[in-house]
Amino acid sequence: MPDQAQLLPGTLDLLILKAVSLGPLHGYGILLRIGQISGQALLIEQGALYPALFRLVRQGLLKANWGVSENNRRAKFYELTAAGRKRLREETEGWNRLAAAIGSALAAAPEES
């Protein structure tokens, strides 16, 4: 495995929302999708995905339906609700603001400060 970054607290929810926003997925599919869109650069404890999914369903950001997986097995598929879509948009903006602020703070050269 290449060097992988630990997830910051709270970012797993955001990654799940993003992964699911690209189309309904079951749990393992979400993990693969996150790996794919992050270039395998994030270290995720796989089991931690499920408490997060259950929590997002409770919060009404995701909805879960049983369907049939690509290898013809019964599987639980998650998709975004309207509230989830809205939350993803807000969290993405918040994340971008935070990343930009931290980035510019860390890039400050001594004479500029």
């Binding site: 089991g47 499920y50 259950f54 409770r58 009404g60 639980k76």
Partner: protein, 209 residues
């Protein structure tokens, strides 16, 4: 949090508990299996692939427990546990329990009595229109009472109030055909009901009032 998602989650937890548990198990098992399949495809033998899949997943039972905790209504369960626990403790030390219950009983009882009296005497307004503009006129040096001629003088010269009525507590014998008994009554001046702006409950007033 959406109310619908919350209630569905609550129902999952309490009404469909067995099914929910089974589905959770199925979902997590499937994850392990799929991961093992992928690892096997990348060249590992089956047993090594399954071992690696479990390793990457992390603490299986811990995550399952965390899944249960993410359901709505977890606080209900915790509260019930706390309640059962405290009842058990209270049963263990009956002396303390008795003193605690006694203290609470006395405290609450005393409060209720004091509030009851206060409410009747002070807080609840009289049930007449504009009770706040009702005043009582007393003579300072005659036990509070005034003579009838004094009342007439006050009434006729009154320019401060809309009206002035007089009353006097009295006792009398009352016979309703079953033998006489002593009753309290209140003599009032003829304008009493007009001044208070109320109507007697049972009958219209005779015209001479």
């Amino acid at each position: 949090m959406s109310a619908l998602g919350y209630f569905r989650s609550l129902a999952d937890r309490f009404l469909r508990r067995g099914q929910t548990e089974q589905e959770m198990e199925e979902e997590l098992r499937m994850h392990l299996e799929q991961r093992a399949n992928d690892l096997e495809r990348s060249g590992l033998d089956r047993r090594e692939a399954e071992r690696r899949a479990r390793l990457e997943f992390g603490g299986y039972d811990r995550f399952k427990e965390e899944c249960r905790e993410s359901f709505a209504g977890n606080f209900l369960e915790t509260m019930l546990q706390d309640l059962r626990y405290s009842l058990r403790l209270l049963r263990k030390s009956p002396g303390f329990t008795l003193v605690a219950i006694g203290t609470l009983t006395l405290g609450i009882g005393a409060n209720a009595v004091v509030f009851g009296v206060l409410n009747g005497l002070i807080l609840r307004p009289l049930s007449v229109p504009e009770p706040q503009s009702l005043y009582m006129i007393e003579r300072e040096k005659a036990n509070g009472s005034a003579s009838y001629p004094d009342y007439i003088d006050l009434r006729d010269r009154n320019r401060s109030f809309d009206g002035l009525a007089a009353f006097n507590f009295d006792q009398a014998g009352l016979d309703l055909g079953t033998g006489s008994s002593r009753v309290w009554l209140c003599d009032v001046s003829g304008n009493y009901f007009d001044v208070l702006r109320i109507q007697p409950a049972l009958t219209a007033l005779p015209t001479w009032c």
